[in-house]
Symmetry: C2
């Protein structure tokens, strides 16, 4: 039962620069963006920075819901599991995202670091209280939660009605839209932040099916891989778009 408060915590001798909010990488993208520098003190006094190494579980389904956090750097996966071990990734979290289940005593989802991850964590009860004191932050959280709900609903469409080809192509497509960078060759390059197994758990497929669909996209010269299996080049955006959104 690894829990946030008992995780190994990397800690430098003096308070690191980045723990002073004004220099924080997500000062303007996390919920803190709703707060003025002076208001931020209230958040800072209940916050504690934590580094979670890749692969480590942040919170198990069934744990008491005692913590929440802003994600500062790295990435987390949120998974739902069945008793027999079948697993579905129901969310991926990146810098600026909010982590945790509020207004509930028991968590139902497991949160795991997929790379080394830096969190700015708060006791849930204290954070909920604060939320009542800072309406702009509560509003921002409401907007984000609604956006997450819309995303979740898009994913239900994908999981319920799309075939393997469409799901895999859609995953690449979405990644490119969110985090693609244009290379010197004028083509979009995307770093895939997860393993094949995690892609499968995200898309509701098996590793083998994901692999075969990627091979198929590669064979058809829609995509190509560079620097191993984790960097993808989009060679034919029109064709990719066609596969993602068929008539």
């Amino acid at each position: 039962m690894a829990r946030l408060d008992v995780l190994p915590v990397a800690r430098s001798h003096e308070e690191p620069k980045t723990s002073r909010c004004s220099g924080c990488a997500v000062r303007d993208s996390a919920l803190c963006a709703s707060m003025s520098d002076t208001e931020l003190t209230a958040l800072r006094v209940i916050g504690r920075r934590r580094i979670v190494p890749a692969g480590q579980i942040v919170s198990w389904a069934g744990d008491a819901s005692t913590f929440c956090a802003n994600l500062v750097s790295g990435a987390l996966k949120v998974t739902a599991t069945l008793a027999d071990g079948r697993e579905q990734i129901v969310g991926l979290l990146f810098p600026g995202d909010f982590v945790g289940q509020l207004f509930t005593d028991e968590t139902t989802l497991t949160v795991t670091a997929i790379v080394d991850t830096d969190l700015c964590g708060y006791p849930r009860a204290a954070f909920e209280t604060l939320l009542g004191d800072y309406p702009r932050m509560e509003r921002m959280l409401l907007r984000r939660t609604m956006a997450s709900l819309n995303e979740a609903r898009e994913r239900m469409l994908s999981l319920g009605r799309k075939n393997a080809q469409e799901r895999v192509a859609g995953f690449i497509f979405d990644l490119a839209a969110r985090a693609g960078s244009r290379g010197a060759d004028g083509l979009l390059h995307v770093s895939i932040p997860v393993s094949r197994g995690e892609m499968a758990d995200y898309l509701g497929l098996t590793i083998e099916t994901v692999s075969r669909q990627l091979t198929r996209l590669r064979t058809n010269e829609v995509i190509a891989f560079a620097n191993g299996d984790r960097v993808c080049t989009i060679k034919n955006p029109e064709e990719l778009s066609e596969i993602v959104n068929p008539d």
Copy 2:
């Protein structure tokens, strides 16, 4: 493009009793529950009751997001669709539930009445403003949105990782938990509020597969049907539970 404001509206000659909030069926379960009788005036002045007949579309995906509502009686389905017509029900709404997509200019989902439905509707902009003036209502909406997100994530697990048998059994099981009533025979009876086709769209299956799985549950005497295809009796709750949550 059916829109809330151009839908046929049933209207009695004098203001009906139930439109006075104090007598409203969902006064204590909808978002209004967060308001005192006096505060409620603010909501009432922007609200308009609307009756939507079964089968009618309340809002199309792609419409401007100009309205939201509390559901007073009846039921709605929220669907996501692909260009080629494939459809997924991403949510079912019942009395007391909130309807609409806030903080966005364009809707991405279609909302349809599955039975005659009574709504208490508001202009979105006015409602959003009100939300800022009544923190308890905003907090209640935040809690509900988070609960919806958790539900959506459970459904992602179902759509991504459960087989047809588990999905159909799970649907009956969830219905029974939410709205089952114990009959004179001591058994749980559940009214199924949707057609087979809607069940299929909800579960990410085809009509035929849903029908076959129901037949299988009936053959194994786990369930039985009474009064046609829409009322279900749970004859063997242990077995049903076993199917829903296998080891």
